[in-house]
């Protein structure tokens, strides 16, 4: 009998410490203010190689009911196993923002990460963001896209490379435009990439790549297109959400 009591006491205290760790996990400096909402400033929907550090940090902002930024409010990031954050938690800066660097998990797929803040009533407010980890094939597709396709399909220019998008009479879609691209089957994509626009009764402004790229290159491009499309292509969807 005494044994039983000891065991239950021990079990109870273990459970207690577990809880204690959870509530105290914000750690670090004490919050000086509380917000009502948390919104994304930048850094969502990035794609990087599996296990890699995302190129841009993720920045979120805590606001009050009126949408004014709140400095000194607590923010905590969490994600599926394998994803790590540096720093994982802290307080918003003087402009109400909190910045963290995100390292993706080791498996290819879409990762859902969560930024959480607390209201004055200690209620959790969550913001869900998605980041994309590219496996070997998608990474290869990303590289090929960068070399052959992005100049036409990505409207954004950099000083190193001017986009050709504005010069095109027929406008192509960015590969993230899932509303259009998800309606195309793998066979459709293979056809238009290999044989050009006319293969799908579209404009010849889309050139054919079937004699320039190998079959596996074209498959890699399709794998990349599927991975980055927004909304997600049904066959992939969000793969790693928090348990």
């Amino acid at each position: 009998m005494t044994r039983l009591i000891t065991i239950s006491v021990i079990a109870f205290s273990i459970a207690l410490t577990g809880c204690a760790r959870k509530t105290a996990s914000a750690g670090g400096p004490k919050p000086t203010a509380w917000g009502a909402a948390i919104v994304e400033s930048s850094g969502g929907k990035q794609a990087g190689a599996v296990g890699s550090l995302l190129e841009q940090p993720v920045v979120v902002q805590v606001n009050d009911e009126q949408g004014t930024a709140i400095p000194g409010a607590p923010v905590e990031f969490s994600g599926p196993s394998g994803v790590s954050f540096d720093p994982p938690s802290g307080l918003t800066d003087s402009s109400g923002q909190f910045t963290t660097n995100v390292m993706l998990g080791g498996m290819a797929g879409r990762y859902q990460i969560t930024a959480t803040t607390l209201t004055k009533a200690q209620k959790r407010v969550d913001l869900k963001l998605e980041e994309i980890a590219l496996g070997y094939q998608e990474q290869l597709g990303f590289q090929l896209n960068d070399k052959y396709c992005a100049r036409c399909h990505n409207p954004e220019s950099s000083p190193e490379r001017v986009s050709n998008y504005d010069n095109l009479e027929v406008k192509p879609h960015a590969f993230t435009e899932g509303d259009t691209l998800n309606k195309m089957s793998d066979a459709d994509l293979t056809a238009i990439i290999s044989h050009g626009g006319p293969a799908l009764s579209k404009s010849p402004w889309m050139p054919p790549y079937g004699y320039t790229l190998s079959k596996s290159d074209i498959q890699a491009l399709i794998a990349y297109i599927r991975m980055v499309s927004d909304p997600p292509y049904q066959a992939s969807g969000t793969v790693y959400a928090q348990k």
Partner: protein, 691 residues
């Protein structure tokens, strides 16, 4: 305690008191011990996962096929010639099942698509870990010091590098890491022998310090030694964290040790009146100095190339007398420099000199006060220069380049964890050790000599990946598996033209026969490609063919004789054996064929999406402008190019259209009619003015 001892001795009595009873008990124990192995087997993890897998696939459409593929029991991939005995597939049973693409629970995920098969290479070749183990813990995170745990996914490209020495499109991180190893001078101090027997070569070119006193002052050397990044944010020289006294003594030694080089300085005429500073800036721009040299802009961002040194504060560094000669002819001071000899006239030299000398930073040397050096300081400086291995990178008069100055890294990717010393709080893995060493080498001991670099986190990952590829396994693989890098070309053009090309630094930007840079087009077949009058005119007055490029061919102020020399050489030597440049006429194509070509250009092939022919209607920005292509390229080249661009220039992004001979001929006829109206270059120049 007492009663229990009594109890056990009485137990002994009851069990073994009688010989027959004793025999029975022993046999029973024996039987039980025989049952241990099968029982362990029965409760093993792999059996558990195989059962789970059956549950997982039960509801799927192709359950029967999947079940047929599943072979119960321990699975093994045995590849004796690779030293692979991998049992990972005992638990990872779905690796080869393409239909499991949606499964995300491990260990049942299908393997992501890669260019190799599991049967070909097994698992540990890429992922490390203990292939022969049959428990999760032992296979993945072996705690035994001499064994390898699983390689984290972020470094997995390192495994590709064990066989592949050529940069692969699918391994950007490995490619970058190798580039950084060579470019940041790591391999000046650390020897890296590659499995093919060659030694990794550095691609940076640290300057010789033999005549340094002609070029700069002791104060600048001191400031630079203390913190190279304070002078140039892009400095590849690391920070040695020298004390003030050590920096003082090294600078004293370098200046005292420097010998004058006749002719590398010239007095700047005092009577010269200060030239217009805006003219200097425009000459700097027109000469496309920014293709190779970067300057920090007001926002602190670097703008420009990284072939030559950053020039943001160059006026605080170089002596005017030295700069004057350098701008006239840099090969007097540094014969093998990559910088082109621009052949500036005296007025241009004065403009640029003034422009560059104005790029100063008053903070840089503000607090540097050095008294005259004493002989003791100079002697101590020499000792320090030897101790820090400066001569591993720089030529220093009187000091030999040290051999094996730093530990060899030839097998660093297989270094046993037992041989590493970790810092408190560090994860005990090889990748973590390597990354920490790169990030902050002196944290492992203040007496260590390795200097401090300033790498971004992604660069640290890339370097770690490149180092992890240097494994013992890579050295013992069957030779047939190696995909070697093409041996570095030592191509050297001959004769006077060859000297001229060296003087102009053509190879800094253009590649020919496998040697040279990739900033500008490959010129290996230039003689088959272009028409002679165009080439001569282009060398005299280069205009860009690609308005969207920020890097461009500068004007070298060549004499007619030099242009003639170069043109002759290019037209005769850089000929493709596959192209007979005279097989198609320069003009005289039938009007109908030309019209057919024009229609093909605009409708069937929509070439205007990337190229401009008519500056009023066409806007394509990707490929070169074709407004005068009929004066520039030979029809024979145009035809071959249209048929198969990659055959002429491997890797070009112009797609191969699998064009019929007829279409290619018609397009060639059309393009051949696009001749320059008057002076070549005028039309293009107008184009450049577009936003």
């Amino acid at each position: 305690m007492e009663p229990s001892q009594n109890k056990s001795s009485s137990l002994w009595q009851t069990l073994f008191g009688h010989p027959i009873r004793a025999f029975g008990v022993v046999s029973l124990l024996f039987l039980i011990s025989l049952a241990i192995a099968p029982a362990k087997n029965h409760f093993s993890e792999w059996r558990h996962y195989q059962k789970q897998y059956l549950v997982l696939i039960r509801g799927r459409g192709d359950a029967i096929t999947l079940q047929r593929h599943l072979q119960p029991g321990i699975q093994q991939i045995w590849l004796p010639e690779l030293g692979v005995v991998d049992r990972c597939t005992s638990c990872h049973v779905g690796l080869k099942e393409a239909s499991l693409a949606d499964v995300t629970t491990q260990p049942f995920r299908r393997h992501p698509v890669i260019p190799h098969t599991i049967d070909q290479f097994g698992c540990v070749m890429c992922h490390r870990g203990q292939g022969a183990a049959t428990t999760v813990e032992e296979a993945h995170s072996s705690t035994l010091a001499w064994e390898e745990p699983l390689l984290p996914a972020r470094y997995v490209e390192s495994s590709c590098g064990q066989c592949h020495r050529v940069p692969l499109t699918g391994t950007p991180q490995l490619n970058l890491g190798r580039q950084l190893l060579a470019r940041n001078g790591c391999v000046h101090c650390h020897t890296v022998k590659l499995p093919d027997g060659t030694t990794m070569k550095a691609t940076d070119d640290p300057p010789s310090l033999v005549h340094i006193a002609d070029k700069t002052t002791r104060e600048w050397i001191y400031a630079w030694l203390k913190d190279p990044a304070a002078y140039a944010v892009s400095a590849t020289m690391p920070n040695f964290k020298l004390s003030d006294d050590d920096a003082r003594d090294i600078s004293a030694f370098l200046i005292a040790n420097s010998t004058p080089l006749p002719g590398d300085t010239a007095p700047v005429a005092a009577t010269q009146k200060a030239p217009d500073p805006t003219a200097g800036a425009s000459l700097y721009g027109e000469s496309f100095c920014a293709s190779c040299h970067a300057v920090q802009n007001a926002a602190g961002n670097l703008v420009g190339g990284d072939v030559g040194p950053e020039l943001t504060r160059v006026g605080s560094k170089v002596k005017p007398e030295w700069l004057q000669v350098w701008l006239r002819n840099e090969r007097i001071y540094d014969p093998p420099t990559e910088m082109p000899h621009y052949r500036f006239n005296e007025q241009q030299v004065a403009l640029l000199r003034t422009f560059l000398l104005n790029k100063t930073d008053s903070d840089l040397l503000a607090n540097v006060r050095l008294d005259a050096a004493t002989p003791e300081q100079i002697a101590h400086g020499k000792t320090l220069v030897t101790e820090y291995g400066c001569a591993s990178c720089h030529e220093v008069g009187g000091i030999k380049k040290p051999e094996n100055f730093a530990p060899e890294l030839t097998r660093i990717g297989s270094k046993p964890v037992a041989q590493l010393i970790f810092l408190p709080g560090m994860q005990h893995t090889l990748p973590d050790y390597i990354a920490a060493k790169i990030r902050n080498p002196r944290s492992f001991g203040s007496a260590l000599k390795m200097p401090q670099y300033t790498f971004a986190p992604s660069q640290v990952d890339a370097l770690t990946t490149a180092l992890l590829s240097l494994t013992e396994r890579a050295r013992t693989l069957p030779a047939a598996l190696a995909v070697p890098a093409p041996s570095a070309s030592t191509y050297q053009p001959a004769g006077r033209a060859g000297q001229l090309m060296a003087d102009l630094g053509c190879f800094s930007c253009h590649a020919i026969n496998g040697r040279g840079g990739d900033m500008a087009p490959d010129l290996t077949w230039e003689g088959s490609s272009v028409q002679r009058p165009w080439l001569a005119e282009f060398l005299k007055n280069p205009n860009t063919l690609r308005p969207a490029l920020i890097r461009r061919m500068p004007r070298f102020n060549l004499s007619d004789g030099e242009i003639n020399e170069l043109t002759n050489y290019i037209m005769t030597v850089y000929q493709s054996p596959a192209i007979d440049r005279d097989s198609m006429p320069l003009s005289g194509y039938p009007a109908a064929q030309v019209e057919q070509g024009r229609q093909l250009f605009y409708s069937k092939y929509a070439c205007q999406s990337c190229h401009i022919v008519d500056t009023k209607t066409d806007k394509g920005y990707i490929g070169p402008t074709l407004t005068q292509v009929g004066s520039r390229l030979t029809p024979a080249w145009i035809y071959s190019w249209l048929k198969n661009p990659q055959a002429l220039r491997p890797g070009t992004i112009e797609p191969n259209r699998n064009m019929s001979d007829e279409d290619a001929r018609a397009l060639t006829a059309y393009l051949a009619t696009l001749k320059s109206s008057g002076k070549p270059g005028t039309k293009v120049a107008r184009l450049e003015a577009r936003p």
